[in-house]
């Protein structure tokens, strides 16, 4: 039920929606919950963008290791 899938924003529309590409399949997703721009990687749940995805792998790993470091 809480499944959310990552895609890439390819167009932003004036009607509150954006086009999101999921590996070649495109959908119109509502964009009222997140400030986005074309090219952003986003998480879509139930037809609505709920978050942008951190694409900087180094940054993500740094955050993860920061958490794990206190536990090693």
């Amino acid at each position: 039920m809480c499944v959310a899938l990552p895609g890439v924003v390819t167009a932003i529309h004036d009607n509150g929606y954006a086009t999101v590409d999921f590996s070649g399949n495109t959908v119109e997703a509502a964009r009222g919950l997140v400030d986005i721009k074309v090219g952003d990687h986003v998480l879509v749940h139930a037809g609505c963008i709920i978050q942008t995805v951190q694409q900087d792998e180094a940054q993500e790993l740094a955050s993860l290791f920061e958490e794990l470091q206190t536990l090693s």
């Binding site: 919950l33 037809g47 609505c48 958490e67």
Partner: protein, 353 residues
């Protein structure tokens, strides 16, 4: 340390038995599909909690949706999983088979096009969900309001996680740590679980859904559990975020503000568990015109008296310990909600036996 190191640690763990609960239906499904339980030490027990919003909606809610779908010029729209959940005497799917007007949709926003196309028909959206999905309904409300659409309502069964986790901790669930729901945390932030972890001294690991993310999350949870006294003494939080690609400490503040605008907390009935204070969300009175009668839908009937979904949802027994599991109760002949939803713990246990 690489992922193999974490897998080895989980595989070779030989300390006291520990029980970790996931409270997200998507984690239930992801853990079952990953095969992770076959790799980690038998001393690490993973149990499923009340993390599927469809499974925990009481029969009275389904009954009300069916009653609405049988009213003239009224159509009930909702997600596919909810169509199969049993009410007192039938499911929405069965009601559709005997003439009730029921439509399955992918997104709440799909209702807008239907409502515009058929202005004489009232569309009621069966709005179930946890913190992840509630903001999506606020986007629907905004569009309904801004476009002056008058033939859309919602029947809500919306719930939030912290009160039910508190209820589990207070009612004898023997849980050593929680795999905190990843997509709930996208909206609410990892801070959502800090008070609980502090109050009960139980670790929470915000975790993603891929096999690697699950390994990291469960490893982090185990290490927190092992070091909990030291971490508490040092003033460290026992809530940690192992899903940093999409989860932040504070979450999606735009979404939180919209939820606050439209909804207020109230008591909610969880299937098999009863009423839990402040565990539900209801439309505020200024938006009452959008509500198809969501309050007070408290009736909760079992289809089969031997069904033990309630104890499965509390992590007190595994699905296999229910006397009906795999016998009269299967995905084709579900006797309880945990076997109906594709994210139900019994459904996943049955598929991955």
């Amino acid at each position: 340390m690489g992922i193999e190191t974490y897998i080895d640690y989980l595989k070779n763990y030989d300390g006291p038995d520990v029980t970790f609960m996931e409270v997200c239906g998507s984690h239930t499904a992801a853990i079952a599909k990953s095969g992770i339980t076959k790799v980690i030490s038998p001393k690490i027990h993973l149990v499923s909690g009340p993390g599927c919003p469809v499974c925990v909606s009481p029969s009275g809610y389904v009954d009300r949706l069916i009653a609405l779908a049988r009213q003239p010029e009224t159509t009930v729209c909702t997600f596919g999983d909810l169509l199969r959940i049993p009410g007192t005497s039938e499911s929405l799917n069965e009601a559709k088979g005997s003439g009730a007007s029921v439509e399955m949709v992918y997104s709440p926003m799909d209702v807008i096009a239907l409502a515009k196309e058929h202005p004489d028909q009232t569309y009621v959206f069966g709005a179930v969900g946890f913190e992840t999905t509630v903001p999506v309904y606020t986007v629907l409300m905004e569009q309904v309001e801004s476009e002056g659409i008058t033939n859309i309502q919602v029947l809500t069964a919306l719930k939030v996680m912290p009160p039910v986790i508190r209820w589990l901790c207070d009612n004898g669930a023997r849980i050593d740590g929680f795999i905190a729901p990843g997509h709930v945390s996208v909206i609410s932030g990892s801070k959502h679980f800090e008070a609980l972890s502090r109050e009960y001294g139980i670790p929470f690991a915000v975790t993603g859904f891929s096999p690697k993310e699950l390994v990291v999350g469960i490893y982090g949870l185990l290490r927190m559990w092992e070091q909990r006294q030291k971490l508490l003494a040092e003033g460290e939080s026992l809530t940690k975020n192992f899903y940093p690609s999409v989860v932040t400490h504070d979450g999606n503040v735009i979404a939180q503000a919209k939820v606050e605008k439209y909804f207020e907390p109230g008591p909610a009935v969880w299937r098999g568990m009863g009423e839990i204070a402040d565990s539900g969300l209801y439309l505020r009175k200024e938006y009452a015109a959008l509500d198809a009668g969501s309050r007070g839908l408290d009736e909760d009937h079992k289809i089969n008296k031997a069904c033990r979904c309630d104890q499965v949802l509390m992590g007190k027994i595994t699905s296999e310990e229910c006397p009906l599991f795999g016998k009269v109760c299967s995905p084709l002949t579900p006797q309880g909600a945990c076997m109906v939803s594709s994210e139900g713990s019994c459904y996943q246990r049955f598929l991955n036996r």
